[in-house]
Amino acid sequence: MSAMLLNKEKWPDFIGKLAGKELWAPQVDSNGLRFAPVAEGEVPSLDFSNTRVPPKEVVFPQTETLFRFKSGSEELKQPQPGKERVLLGVRPCDARSMKIIDKLFNWDEEDPYYLKRREQVTLVGLACTEPGLNCFCTSVNGGPASTEGLDLLMVDLGESYFLEQVTKKGGSLLEELKELLEEAGNDSQEQKESIAGEAANKIKRSIDTEGIPAGLPGLWEDPLWQRVSASCLGCGTCTYLCPTCHCFDIQDETEGQEARRCRMWDSCMFREYTLHASGHNPRSTRRERTRNRINHKYNYYVDKFDVIACVGCGRCINLCPVNIDIVDVLGQVKEALR
C-alpha cells in the first residue's frame, strides 16, 4: 500500500480498529511520560514531545524473568511469550535505537527474550515537528522523519496524518485500517517533505562525529575525561534512560520456596558494575566509567557493529542532575583531536 492519509476526525475510529491488539502509547504516570498499554475505550493523545523512559522498555523491560524454579524441583520454567503489541507514537530516534540494539541481541548467540518481543512488536512512528531543545538526531544519521526501525511512519499534516508504510508489518496494519484511510496525493507527499525539512531545521544542537570513533583511542589519557566526569554523581540516569544502552545484570530472587532468575538494567556508570570479587576494579573511578560510556557509544560499538550507539534523543542531557551534556563532551573530544 502506498502512502495514505488519515483525517484526524477519524483518530478515535483508528484507535477503535486497533482495539483487538495490545496497544501501547505514551501516557503520563508518576515518573512522567512513558509507554503503557492503552485502556479499552481510551483514545491516546499524540500531543507530546517524547517519553522520559524510551520504548526500549517494551522490548527490553527494566526487569524480566528468565526462568522460575521451585525448591525441590529441577524444572526451570520459562515465561510464556507475551502478546503482539502495537506501539503508537514512537519517535524516529527511539525506533532507530531498536535497530541499533538488535545488532547486539542478534550477535553470535541470539537472545530469545529480546528477539521474541521484538518480533511481536509493530512500531508506528510519529515524525517530530517540534524537536526538543537538546535533540541532535541529525548529527548521528537520524532525522525527525527517519523511518529506520519503524514499521509505519505518521506525519502530522495539521488536518490529517500522513501514513507511510515502511515494512510489510506496517503494510498489513494499513490494510486492516484501509476503510478509514484515503490515498495520499502528491500535494500531501510534498507537504510531508516540507514539514520534515522544517523540523530538521529546528534542531539546534549538533556535533560533527567525523573522526570521533577513530580518534577516541588516542585520547585515552587525555585530561578531558577528568574534566567531564568531575561533576558526575554516578547516578546512572544517562544510561538507564538511554534508548541504546542495553547492559544488564542477572540476579536470583527467592521468596519462600519459589524463586526466579531475572535480568535487570544495569549501568556502566556504577562502581559495582565491573567490581571483581577480589575487590579489584578495572574501572574504579568515574573518570574511567565516563570514558567507557563515551567510548562504548562512539568507538567500541562502531568497531563491532558499524554504527554509533547514540541516536541523539537528548535524554541524557535533559535528565542529568548535574548537567553533563554529551554534545558538549563530544565537542571537547573534537577539540582534543584538533
Partner: protein, 281 residues
C-alpha cells in the same frame, strides 16, 4: 551451549570435591558430570574456555574449566571462596547439583602450537586456566616440542594441584618448576618469586610459546622478563578475567576496550593485548 536459550543452564552432579588450599579464601575443586546424557555427548570444551557455574537461588559465577577434554567426560572447576556464589558452591558436596552453562570464550590455539615448546608460567589460582594446557600437551606429547611449567604461590599451602605437580617434577617429559615465596621446612623445590624462577630456568624463545596467568603484578614482571629472554610479543599469551553475567557478549560489563573478555577472550595474544590500554587496568 543451549542453542534454544543460552540463559538456561544444565544440571551437573558433583562427583568428587577436595580442597586445594585452606583458609578464608580456600580453593575447592569440583569434579562434575552432566546429568543429561545428551548434554554429556554434545558438550565440547577446550583449554582456555570457561563456564558459568552456579547454585539456583544464589546465582552464577564465571569459572575457568580446569581440566582438558583429554581427561574424560567430566568437568573440573577450582573455585576460590570470595563472595555469595562461590560460598554457596563451596557448600556443595558429592551428590549435590550445580548448574553449568557454556562453554564460553575462545581457546588456547593448541593446534596452531603443534611442534613448539610450550611453557606455562602461573601464580596462585592463575594456574587453573593453564592446567588444561599442561594436561592437553601431556596427552599429545609427541605433537609438541616439549613442556615446561613454572608455578608458584606464597606458601606451599597456597599451591593448587600440588600433588599432581609434585609428581610431575619427577617425570622426565615435563620440566616442572614449583616455587614458593618464603622458605619452608620440608620444601625441596624452588624458593623465590615466579618471575625470578623464570629467569633461573631461562627458557630459549626459539620455537617456544609462553603462557602466563596469575596476579597482575606477577604478570607484569613475567612479561618484562620474557622480553628480556628475547620472546616476541606474539609468542606470549595470557588469559584475562573480568566480571561477567551473561557469557555471550550481551550484558556489557566484561569489556576491556573494544574486546569482550567473554567472547573475544579470555585468551589473548600479548601483541593484541598491548594495544588495549584497559586490559591491564
Amino acid at each position: 551451549m543451549n542453542m534454544e536459550n543460552p540463559y538456561i543452564p544444565y544440571y551437573a552432579t558433583v562427583e568428587e570435591t577436595w580442597y586445594e588450599t585452606l583458609g578464608e579464601r580456600a580453593i575447592k575443586t569440583f569434579k562434575v558430570v552432566f546429568d543429561d546424557e545428551e548434554v554429556r555427548k554434545s558438550w565440547e570444551h577446550f583449554p582456555g574456555q570457561c563456564a558459568m557455574i552456579g547454585v539456583l537461588g544464589v546465582g552464577e559465577s564465571m569459572i575457568s574449566i580446569s581440566c582438558s577434554p583429554t581427561e574424560g567426560d567430566f568437568l573440573r572447576f577450582s573455585v576460590m571462596r570470595m563472595g555469595k556464589v562461590t560460598q554457596a558452591l563451596h557448600e556443595l558436596e558429592p551428590g549435590d547439583k550445580m548448574t553449568v552453562r557454556g562453554p564460553y570464550g575462545n581457546k588456547f590455539p593448541l593446534e596452531e602450537w603443534q611442534g613448539k615448546h610450550i611453557i606455562t608460567i602461573g601464580g596462585g589460582i592463575g594456574q587453573a586456566p593453564m592446567r588444561p594446557i599442561v594436561e592437553y600437551v601431556k596427552a599429545n606429547y609427541d605433537n609438541y616440542g616439549g613442556l615446561t611449567m613454572i608455578y608458584g604461590a606464597r606458601t606451599s599451602g597456597d599451591l593448587c594441584f600440588k600433588e599432581e605437580f609434585e609428581q610431575m617434577t619427577e617425570e622426565e617429559e615435563v620440566s616442572c618448576h614449583l616455587t614458593i615465596d618464603i622458605e619452608e621446612e620440608k620444601w625441596d623445590h624452588n624458593v623465590g618469586f615466579v618471575p625470578q624462577v623464570l629467569m633461573d630456568v631461562s627458557p630459549s624463545p626459539e620455537n617456544t610459546i609462553a603462557i602466563t596467568c596469575g596476579p597482575p603484578i606477577m604478570i607484569r614482571f613475567v612479561l618484562e622478563n620474557l622480553k628480556k629472554l628475547g620472546f616476541e610479543d606474539d609468542q606470549i599469551y595470557t588469559t584475562l578475567e573480568n566480571r561477567m553475567k551473561c557469557g555471550i557478549g550481551k550484558c556489557g560489563r566484561c569489556n576491556a576496550g573494544n574486546m569482550y573478555v567473554c567472547k573475544d577472550g579470555p585468551v589473548f595474544n600479548y601483541a593484541t593485548l598491548k594495544e588495549i590500554p584497559e586490559a591491564f587496568a
